[in-house]
């Protein structure tokens, strides 16, 4: 019963490097989300998707890109890593509710990213 799987769990990048954070869910959820969580802070929404081929910006999208080619996968791309992107990144998914009202989001265990 995998749920939401994020890889890698830890990563150290140098300034200016690029990388992709992977997220996969096996619950056939339509909605997927990427958040970042800085120490002592809440979750800030980076990007989200309501279905394959559809993505939209959240609160803090600058410096990131996403794609959603399948229902299961929602990778997050950092093109030019900056120290301000040091954070813990969480991917989440939910059934969504097109009739209004969101279903609970299910989270992965995060990717801890340090940019040095």
């Amino acid at each position: 019963n995998a749920g939401v799987t994020q890889t890698p769990k830890f990563r150290i990048l140098k300034i200016g490097q690029s990388m992709t954070l992977q997220c996969a869910q096996d619950m056939n959820h339509n909605y997927m989300y990427w958040y970042r969580q800085d120490p002592g802070m809440g979750l800030k929404l980076i990007y989200y998707s309501v279905g394959a081929g559809i993505t939209d910006k959240g609160e803090v999208p600058n410096g990131y890109n996403v794609s959603r080619s399948t229902t299961e996968d929602f990778p997050l791309r950092l093109e030019l890593a900056a120290p301000s992107q040091t954070s813990v990144y969480f991917c989440a998914s939910s059934k969504g509710d097109r009739g209004g009202g969101n279903q609970p989001q299910h989270f992965g265990d995060g990717t801890r990213l340090s940019i040095l």
């Binding site: 958040y35 002592g40 929404l45 309501v50 989001q105 299910h106 989270f107």
Partner: protein
């Protein structure tokens, strides 16, 4: 401006000492309020959804309640394993598929 504020930021309890965590919100058109538990090094884990004022939900030592301005997470006779950060999040009519999270309350229960 919509806001979700959790208090206190941190709470230390002795085992068996009951208390409450608060989540106050200033959003219009609330559709639902979610409570999550987050253990160190893990992602948030869903606990409850509340949809309307007066609603209550319980799970073991936890009970969540909702009014028109705030939600409380009551913890009765807590145990050390209840130690975690508790997050609330609101779903409002104009937010589409997005939730707005509070910053959490870090709860420590000492044996």
């Amino acid at each position: 401006e919509d806001q979700v504020t959790q208090s206190p930021e941190a709470l230390r309890l002795q085992e068996g000492e009951s208390s409450s965590l608060n989540c106050s919100y200033t959003v219009s058109g609330l559709r639902g309020l979610f409570w999550y538990r987050q253990d160190p090094g893990k992602g948030p884990e869903f606990l409850f959804t509340l949809y309307s004022a007066g609603e209550e939900k319980e799970k073991e030592r936890l009970k969540a309640t909702l009014t028109k301005k705030e939600s409380f997470l009551h913890i009765t006779a807590p145990k050390p394993e209840d130690s975690a950060t508790y997050l609330c999040a609101v779903d409002k009519e104009t937010s589409g598929s997005r939730l707005t999270f509070g910053e959490g309350t870090q709860l420590t229960v000492n044996p």
